[in-house]
C-alpha cells in the first residue's frame, strides 16, 4: 500500500503524452517532480493557489462538499490536479501527442 503511490506515479510518468508528474506538499514544497527546475517552480507556485481557490469555492457553496479533482484542459495540455490530505498531485499531459 505504502509504495503504491510512488509505483502508480512512476507508471503514470511512462504513459504516452505525459509531460510531467509533480507532487507538491502542503506548504508548497516540491516533494517529487519529473520536470526541470524552472517548470517545477512555475507549476508548484501557481497550481496550489488555484486549487485552494477552487476548493474554497466548492466549500463555500456547500461546507459539506469538498474538491476532489481539478482538470484543466488547455490548447496544448491537460493539467490534472488531485488535492489530497497534505499533498497535491499534478499530472501534465499532452493529449494530442498520445493519439
Amino acid at each position: 500500500m505504502a509504495s503504491s503511490v510512488t509505483e502508480t506515479l512512476e507508471r503514470v510518468q511512462k504513459h504516452k503524452g505525459v509531460i510531467g508528474v509533480l507532487v507538491v506538499g502542503e506548504e508548497g514544497q516540491v516533494v517529487k517532480s519529473t520536470l526541470d527546475e524552472a517548470q517545477t517552480a512555475d507549476y508548484a507556485g501557481l497550481i496550489p493557489g488555484l486549487t485552494s481557490l477552487a476548493r474554497s469555492m466548492v466549500r463555500e457553496l456547500d461546507p459539506l462538499n469538498d474538491l476532489e479533482f481539478l482538470r484543466i484542459r488547455s490548447v496544448k495540455h491537460e493539467i490534472m490536479v488531485a488535492p489530497r490530505d497534505e499533498f497535491v498531485l499534478i499530472v501534465i499531459q499532452d493529449p494530442s501527442a498520445a493519439q
Partner: protein, 758 residues
C-alpha cells in the same frame, strides 16, 4: 522797492522773507563782485543787470521826479451795481453794502496773542513743567547728598521725567550663534510578520467540527481522570487534555487564531517530514509512502485519467462506433478490437475470465498454464476497462490459477481454483496479500487440477458456498466457515468417467447442475467441467429444485457425442434446458436436455480446437466460441444454423483460451495463451435479439438487473419467454432437419450414429 523792470537772477534759493533785504541791497547798487573762483560754490553769486531793449530811457531828472501814489480803501474791482431780488418788496434792488476787502496775501503762523486763552494755557503748562523739573532736580540732589552721607535711600522716581531724546544711546550685544545641526539615531526595528487569514463559512464549519471533536476527546478523557489520579493517567491523555485549554487560552476567544495555532502545530509536527522531503527525491518518495490511502486512490484515478486521455479514441469507439456495413450485409458481422490487457507479470496463459457482477467495467483474469510440464506460478489480476494499462489488483499464488468466479451477491469475494488442486477465496478489495480462505493439503484439497469453481446459492443456511470440479473426479462443495473452508463431496465422477470412456458428455440435473465427464481418449483426462454454478446462476427461479438435485449426487442424464475432450459447457442464459459444449474435436454443439437421447441438436465445425464457448446474455440464440487458431466465432442459430456469422482472427500466433460476454455492454473478452486479454466490440448484426430491442446490447434482463423495478422485471420475464420460444422454434426446425437426415441415413443402412443415449 526795486524798479519794476529789473529782474533779479540768483544762484541759490532763498526764503521769501529775505526778498525785502535783497531789494534794499539792489537799490544801493554795490560794485560788482569779482567772479568767484571756479569750484567755489559757497562764494557770493555774481549779479548782472539785464535791461530789456524796449525799456524807457529816463534821464536823472525824470528818475528823481516824485510820483505820488494814493492808497484808497475802495476796491476798484468790486461791483458797484449789484442788484438782488428783494423778496419783501418783490422787486430787484441794488445792494448798497458791497464788500471792498481783498486779501492779497495771508499766512497762518505760530505766534499767539499774549492775551488769548490759548496763550494763557500754554503759559500755565510751561510753568507747571518748570516747577516739576525743579522739584525733581531738588529730589535728585537730595538723594545724592544722602547717598554721600551713607544713607540707603531709593533714587527718585523719574518715570514721569521726559528724557532727553537726542542724548540717548542704545547698546546691544549678541552672543555667538551656534549653527543648527540635525542628528538622529534609530533603534533596531522590532520584528514584524505578515499574517493573513480568511474567514469563510466553510472554515467556520470546519472549526466547529474540530471543536466538537476536541470536546468529545475531552469527555472521553474525563472519566479516566476521575477514576484514577491524574498522575497515573497515561501521559498522552494528559497532554491531549492539557493542550486544548492551552490552545484556547492562546486563541483568546478569536476564531481566527485557533486554526492558525493548529496549523502551526501541524506544521511543527510535519516539519520533520517536510525537511526530509527537501533533502532529495528519495526522501520525497519516503514521504509519499507515508501518505494515506486517499493519496494512493488519487494517484490511481490520475492514472486512469491519463490513460483515458491517451486512449480517448478507443473509448469513443467503445461507446459510439457501430459498423455501418452491417446494414447492407445481413447475416454477417464483425468484431472491433478495443483494449488489450496484458498479464502483469510474465507471459502466462489466460485460464479464466470472470466479469464482476457489480461493476460492468471490472473483471478478474486467472493466469496459469495449460501445459502439464511447464507449470508456473499463478496470478489473479483484477482489471478495469477504465485503465487498460495496469491491473487494479493482483494476487499471486504458488500454483497456476485455473478458474475464477465472483460471488453474485458479494462481489468482493473471488473464488479461485489452482492447478495443484487447492482452492482459495480472495477479497478483491484488499490489495495484494494473502487469501481470506485457502484449502491446503491438510484441509482436504483436490488431488489434481481444479478446472472450474462456481459459487452456489444456499438459501437455507445462508452460508457462502462454492463448488469446484477437479480432474481427480470429485465435485466438492466448499463452505466458508469462520476460520476455514469446509469441504463436502457432492459427487464423484471418476467411476462414471471411466465407464464413459470414449467420449461422453454427462450433465447432472436437467435444469440445474450439469456435469460433463468426458474420457477424452487419454486416461489422464477424466472429468473436465461442472456447469452447476453456471446453471444455478442463470436459472434463478429453479433454485429449490436445483438444490435437491444437486445434493442427490447422481447423474440425471449424460450426453455423449464429442470425439475428444470437452473444454467447456455452458447452459443457455435464457433457456433452461439448452446448453452448449466446446470440444477439442473442432466442434461446437448445442444440446437440448429434454431430448438427451436425440444427441446434439446443432453442431458447428469451427476448424480448430474450440477452447471456450459462451452464450450471449442478450439473446437466446447467440453464442460465441474461441478456437486455437486465434479466431473468435459468433453464431446466431436463428440467423444461420450451419456457419457462424463471424469468424474473425483477433490474435496472431497465439491460441485463444477463454472468452466472456459482458452482461451490459456489447463487448466480449477473449484471453489467449500469451497472457493478453482482448476486448472486442460486437457489430450490430451480432447483437440482434428476438425481442423489440433488436441490436440493443445493453438490454437488461432479469439476471443482469435483478434489483430492477417490478415493471422492468415483468418486461424482463416477457423478454425471456419470447427468447425461449424463439430458441425452441429454431431447435424444432433443426431437429426436424436432423431427423430427416438420420432417417435418410438409416434408410441407407449406414449405421454409426454419432450419438448414443446413456
Amino acid at each position: 522797492m526795486a524798479p519794476f523792470g529789473a529782474l533779479l537772477k540768483r544762484g541759490g534759493k532763498r526764503g521769501a522773507h529775505r526778498d525785502k533785504a535783497q531789494a534794499q541791497a539792489d537799490a544801493a547798487e554795490p560794485p560788482p563782485l569779482p567772479p568767484p573762483p571756479i569750484g567755489d560754490e559757497f562764494a557770493v553769486p555774481v549779479r548782472e543787470y539785464v535791461r530789456p531793449d524796449n525799456q524807457l530811457q529816463l534821464s536823472e531828472a525824470q528818475l528823481g521826479e516824485e510820483m505820488p501814489r494814493m492808497l484808497t480803501a475802495t476796491n476798484p474791482t468790486a461791483p458797484k451795481n449789484l442788484a438782488r431780488f428783494n423778496m419783501k418788496e418783490r422787486c430787484f434792488k441794488f445792494d448798497a453794502m458791497v464788500d471792498q476787502t481783498v486779501a492779497h496775501y495771508s499766512s497762518s503762523g505760530w505766534l499767539l496773542h499774549k492775551s488769548s486763552e490759548e496763550a494763557k494755557k500754554q503759559g500755565d503748562a510751561e510753568r507747571a513743567e518748570a516747577e516739576a523739573a525743579a522739584k525733581f532736580q531738588s529730589e535728585v540732589e537730595r538723594a545724592a547728598r544722602e547717598k554721600e552721607a551713607g544713607m540707603d535711600v531709593e533714587p527718585p522716581d523719574d518715570s514721569r521725567q521726559l528724557r532727553n531724546r537726542f542724548n540717548f544711546g542704545d547698546r546691544a550685544a549678541q552672543t555667538f550663534n551656534y549653527p543648527l545641526r540635525e542628528g538622529g539615531t534609530m533603534t533596531e526595528p522590532p520584528p514584524t510578520a505578515t499574517t493573513t487569514g480568511s474567514c469563510s463559512a466553510w472554515e467556520v464549519y470546519d472549526e466547529y467540527l474540530r471543536d466538537a471533536e476536541r470536546q468529545r476527546a475531552e469527555e472521553a478523557a474525563k472519566p479516566k481522570g476521575g477514576a484514577r489520579r491524574p498522575s497515573t493517567a497515561a501521559p498522552g491523555h494528559a497532554a491531549a487534555a492539557a493542550a486544548p485549554p492551552a490552545a484556547g487560552a492562546a486563541g483568546g476567544g478569536s476564531t481566527l487564531q485557533g486554526p492558525a495555532a493548529e496549523a502551526a502545530a501541524a506544521a511543527a509536527q510535519r516539519g520533520g517530514a517536510a525537511a526530509a522531503a527537501a533533502r532529495g527525491d528519495d526522501d520525497g518518495d519516503a514521504a509519499l509512502s507515508a501518505a494515506g490511502p486517499a493519496v494512493a486512490a488519487a494517484a490511481a484515478i490520475l492514472d486512469r485519467m491519463v490513460v483515458q486521455n491517451a486512449l480517448a479514441d478507443v473509448a469513443m469507439d467503445f461507446k459510439y462506433w457501430d459498423d455501418a456495413t452491417d446494414s447492407f450485409r445481413p447475416g454477417e458481422g464483425s468484431l472491433l478490437p478495443l483494449w488489450t490487457f496484458k498479464c502483469p507479470r510474465g507471459r502466462k496463459h489466460v485460464t479464466s475470465i470472470a466479469w464482476s457482477p457489480a461493476y460492468t467495467d471490472m473483471f478478474a483474469v486467472g493466469y496459469g498454464s495449460f501445459h502439464f510440464h511447464r507449470q508456473t506460478g499463478g496470478l489473479v489480476a483484477i482489471h478495469s476497462l477504465k485503465n487498460p494499462a495496469a491491473a487494479e489488483n493482483v494476487f499471486v499464488t504458488a500454483s497456476g490459477v485455473m478458474a475464477v468466479d465472483f460471488h453474485p451477491t458479494f462481489p468482493n469475494l473471488l473464488a479461485i481454483g489452482c492447478y495443484d488442486g487447492s482452492v482459495a477465496v480472495f477479497d478483491a478489495r484488499r490489495r495484494g496479500g494473502a487469501p481470506l480462505y485457502q484449502a491446503t493439503a491438510r484441509s482436504g484439497k483436490h488431488s489434481d487440477a481444479v478446472w472450474q469453481v462456481a459459487w452456489q446459492e444456499d438459501e437455507l443456511q445462508k452460508t457462502l458456498q462454492f463448488a469446484s470440479v477437479s480432474t481427480d473426479g470429485d465435485v466438492v462443495l466448499w463452505t466458508l466457515t469462520r476460520s476455514e473452508l469446509a469441504p463436502e463431496r457432492l459427487m464423484r465422477l471418476g467411476a462414471r468417467a471411466a465407464l464413459a470412456a470414449g467420449g461422453a458428455v454427462a450433465a447432472a440435473a436437467a435444469a440445474a447442475a450439469g456435469a460433463e465427464a468426458p474420457g477424452g481418449g487419454a486416461a489422464a483426462a477424466a472429468a473436465r467441467r461442472v456447469g452447476g454454478g453456471v446453471c444455478m446462476h442463470f436459472h434463478w427461479a429453479d433454485g429449490r429444485e436445483h438444490q435437491y438435485l444437486a445434493f442427490s449426487s447422481e447423474f440425471l442424464a449424460s450426453f455423449s457425442g464429442h470425439g475428444m475432450a470437452v473444454y467447456s459447457v455452458r447452459w443457455n442464459r435464457l433457456h433452461p434446458s439448452v446448453f452448449l459444449s466446446a470440444s477439442a474435436d473442432w466442434s461446437l454443439r448445442v444440446w437440448d436436455a429434454r431430448r438427451a437421447a436425440a444427441g446434439p441438436v446443432l453442431s458447428f465445425d469451427l476448424g480448430d480446437a474450440v477452447g471456450d464457448a459462451a452464450w450471449a446474455p442478450y439473446a437466446s440464440t447467440v453464442a460465441a466460441a474461441v478456437t486455437d487458431d486465434g479466431r473468435v466465432h459468433v453464431i446466431d442459430v436463428a440467423a444461420n444454423r450451419l456457419t457462424p456469422l463471424c469468424s474473425q482472427k483477433v490474435v496472431r500466433s497465439a491460441r485463444l483460451t477463454r472468452l466472456a460476454f459482458n452482461a451490459r455492454h456489447p463487448i466480449l473478452l477473449v484471453g489467449d495463451s500469451k497472457g493478453n486479454v482482448t476486448c472486442l466490440k460486437l457489430s450490430p448484426n451480432l447483437r440482434r435479439s428476438g425481442g423489440g430491442a433488436a441490436g440493443a446490447g445493453a438490454q437488461p434482463h432479469a439476471a443482469a438487473a435483478p434489483a430492477a423495478g417490478v415493471g422492468a422485471a415483468a418486461a424482463g420475464e416477457r423478454f425471456e419467454a419470447a427468447e425461449r420460444q424463439r430458441l425452441d422454434g429454431v431447435l424444432e426446425v433443426a431437429l426436424k432437419g436432423r431427423r430427416a437426415a438420420v432417417a435418410a441415413a438409416a434408410a441407407e443402412a449406414a449405421s454409426g450414429g454419432s450419438c448414443a443415449a446413456a
